[in-house]
Amino acid sequence: MKGRLQHVWQWLRTLAGDDAYERYCEHQQLAHAGTPVLDARAFYLEQQRQKWSGINRCC
């Protein structure tokens, strides 16, 4: 039961984008180990800037 709840929670976090920073860190670790990593705030701001420079909301 607890495992299932945790699964749902994790799913919600991914859907909302709560774990975007964790996934970014993981990716940096795997793909570009040793290169500097953005901190949580810088990553969040960069992510927002990128998200809102194209069309991603509709009528």
């Binding site: 991914t14 709560d18 975007a20 990716h27 927002q48 998200k51 809102w52 909301r57 509709c58």
Partner: protein
């Protein structure tokens, strides 16, 4: 066993649809509409979308997607399909599918319902899925870029200009809907105003206190929004405070313009991004809640299946059922704007091509279902009430007495007392002539919610619904102004380079002002127009949106012809042909009709004659020159939309003919095939 199940679904769907369509004078229950819709969607998804994905699109699950090949942990990230579905749905679902069906309800519930179902299953869903796949195969390129690559520069520029024009018209009409919902309503105005500081608070929280903790921030923000709705009710009880939030349309229009300008130049994290999180949260929550409430309440539909207004004399907007029902309901059946979203962020997240069907076709199906729910919310009202809310004073008479008389004389009885009591129960002073669709939808939603989840609180539910609509209208307004700004900068940069620098503050301010002035002008005219403005702007928006859909389908058809899919090309070519017919005939009528309620030029000439003869009152005469100029400008715009549409269709036909004759065409811009699992750049 499986086959039996699908035969059952088909029979049930046919029975429900048949029952609704052959309505024998009994009232139809909303539950039947839901059953019919769900069966049509289920069949469309299970059979048609699978067939199209396999045959026309040749979806190939072994092919590496750009998310895998270009994975950078940021925008290109292979993501679980349900998560991409959620993101894509949140991106495509806006206020459009709520407003269009509400306005089209003047024809009765049947025309709108049939178009929503058929249009989505055969048109809109196919368009979205096709664009999503084509863009996924091209590393997530935009519609405009694909048009340029695959058809040539003419098609590319047509797509760019079409997009910019539709953004301007879309924002103007959405701004007008918000203004009409807030006009002389202190409760609604205070609540909508409160959403701005709440969004800023959430923005600061997400940046400074707990960066990126979106769930907790959204829960906090939505609680504050609900508190703002209730607080607005308290404020409404205090006459001095209520008076401070009692604005006329023009004042609110200036406010919306100032707000849109600020939102476009402020950093996104401060206002735009947090507002979007709140609106997405509300949007998903309210849609689910509304669907559950409709099933619990299963109201009878009070609007007739078809009304006499199919002859073009309707009070909500002028024009016959053909082509105007197909123009009025764009989002929910087929929406060109989706092609821009489907060729943007979403393709960069897709983990496998086999997910494209569920994400592209499925999300549009859900959006279409939202449109069905909105149609139910509009048609469960007494038709008299529906027409009293949605008809402008200039059409049915400016005073309550005249308006109810006019509407009752059409066979839709309504009384001043009834309207007065309804307004009082919703916490409003008057609901007459609240055009734009938002207030009547809010009344419908409030009655659904309050009867499904316990009586009472009608006023709170009504203003919750208004706040819900306003929040995502303002999100579209912010985001649209910003995107428009980038496009203007892009265009201006080609004339004089410094104007195109996206990081230069003067250039940002200038381009934002240009975009806001563009939609602000149409909003201003809409507000001063005694006929409500929505009846002019919404058809213009519908024509623009369907034009964009036709552009997307042209690009798709051109690409598929180049890929040798001639045998199945009708899948995109038939919806394209239908849209070309609908859009062109609607444009023709809007330009050339001699009926002053339909033709822009006829209306302008009529008003000019009256102005010259001195037949207008002083108030009317003061705004008449602006209105006359606007109607003529609208006619020019309509010509432009039609030209852009046909330029791209002819360009697509030219390319197709060259393909058939074996002549040279621009090479395919599809990324080379790479098998899944091999292209990943992530070392193990």
């Amino acid at each position: 066993m499986k086959r039996l199940f699908w035969i059952g679904v088909a029979l049930l769907g046919a029975y429900a649809l048949g029952g609704i369509a052959l309505d024998r004078g009994e009232t139809v229950n909303a539950l039947w509409i839901i059953v019919a819709a769900v069966c049509v969607y289920a069949l469309g998804y299970r059979f048609y979308s699978a067939w199209v994905a396999a045959n026309l699109l040749s979806v190939d699950a072994t092919r590496a997607t750009p998310a895998e090949r270009l994975n950078n942990g940021r925008d290109f990230v292979p993501t679980h399909r349900w998560i991409v579905f959620g993101h894509h749905f949140a991106a495509i679902a806006g206020p459009g599918p709520l407003i269009g069906p509400t306005l089209a309800a003047q024809f009765g519930f049947l025309p709108g319902l049939l178009w929503i179902l058929v249009g989505s299953v055969l048109g809109g869903c196919v368009q979205d899925m096709t664009m999503l796949l084509l863009s996924t195969r091209r590393d997530g390129r935009s519609l405009g870029k694909m048009a340029r690559d695959e058809l040539g520069p003419v098609g590319g520029y047509a797509a760019l200009i079409g997009t910019l024009m539709i953004i301007v018209i879309l924002i103007a009409v959405l701004g007008l809907v918000v203004v009409n919902a807030m006009k002389h309503s202190p409760w609604a105005t205070a609540t909508v105003f409160a959403t701005i500081p709440i969004a800023i608070l959430i923005g600061l929280y997400l940046r400074n206190i707990r960066p990126g903790r979106i769930i907790e921030a959204s829960v906090l923000g939505v609680s504050l929004l609900i508190f703002a709705v209730i607080g607005g009710g308290w404020l409404n009880e205090v006459p001095s405070l209520a008076a401070a939030f009692d604005f006329d349309g023009l004042g609110l229009a200036w406010f919306v313009m100032g707000y849109g300008f600020l939102a476009a130049i402020l950093p996104v994290w401060l206002l735009l991004a947090p507002r979007d999180y709140l609106s997405t949260f509300l949007k998903l929550g309210t849609v689910v809640l509304l669907a559950i409430a409709v099933v619990i309440m299963h109201p009878d539909i009070k609007m007739p299946a078809v009304t006499q207004f199919i002859d073009g004399s309707g009070p909500v907007f002028g024009g016959k059922i053909f082509p105007f029902v197909f123009i009025t309901i764009a989002c929910g059946a087929i929406s060109g704007f989706h092609a821009l979203v489907a060729s943007g962020t979403t393709p960069k997240l897709i983990g496998s091509e086999s997910d494209v069907r569920m994400i592209g076709y499925g999300s549009m199906m859900l959006e279409s279902f939202v449109a069905v729910i909105a149609l139910i919310a509009a048609t469960l009202l007494d038709p008299g009430v529906y027409f009293a809310i949605n008809s402008a004073g200039g059409v049915v008479g400016a005073t309550a007495d005249v308006a109810v008389q006019t509407i009752s004389s059409w066979g839709f009885p309504v009384t001043v007392d009834q309207m007065h009591n309804l307004a009082a129960s919703m916490g409003e002073t008057s609901l007459f002539a609240r055009t734009g669709g938002a207030p009547s939808l809010a009344v419908g939603m409030a009655s659904i919610f309050s009867s499904a989840f316990g009586n009472g609180f009608l006023g709170v539910w009504y203003h919750f619904a208004i706040m819900f609509e306003a929040v995502f209208i303002l999100t579209t307004l912010d985001a649209g102004t910003r995107v428009g700004r980038f496009m203007v900068q892009d265009l201006l940069g080609q004339i004089w380079r410094p104007l195109g620098e996206t990081s230069s503050y003067p250039s940002v301010v200038f381009a934002s002002a240009v975009v806001v002035a563009g939609w602000g002008y149409f909003l201003y005219i809409g507000v001063i127009d005694p006929n409500g403005g929505v009846n002019i702007l919404w058809p213009l928006f519908g024509i623009a949106n369907q034009m964009l859909a036709a552009i997307a389908l042209s690009v798709a058809t051109g690409i598929l012809v180049k890929q040798g899919k001639l045998k199945y090309i009708w899948v995109t070519a038939v919806p394209l042909a239908w849209l070309a017919i609908v859009t062109t005939s609607a444009a023709w009528e809007k330009i050339f009709s001699t009926d002053v309620r339909i033709g822009f030029l006829a209306a302008a000439d009529d008003m000019a004659t009256k102005l010259a003869a001195g037949a207008l009152s002083a108030n009317q005469a003061a705004v008449a020159p602006d209105l006359i100029f606007n109607q003529r400008l609208d006619a020019v715009l309509t010509v432009l939309f039609t030209l852009v549409l046909w330029v791209i269709i002819v360009d697509m036909l030219r390319i197709s003919r060259r393909v058939l004759r074996g002549e040279s065409v621009p090479p395919s811009s599809e990324a080379h095939y790479a098998p899944q699992g091999s292209g990943a750049q992530v070392p193990a």
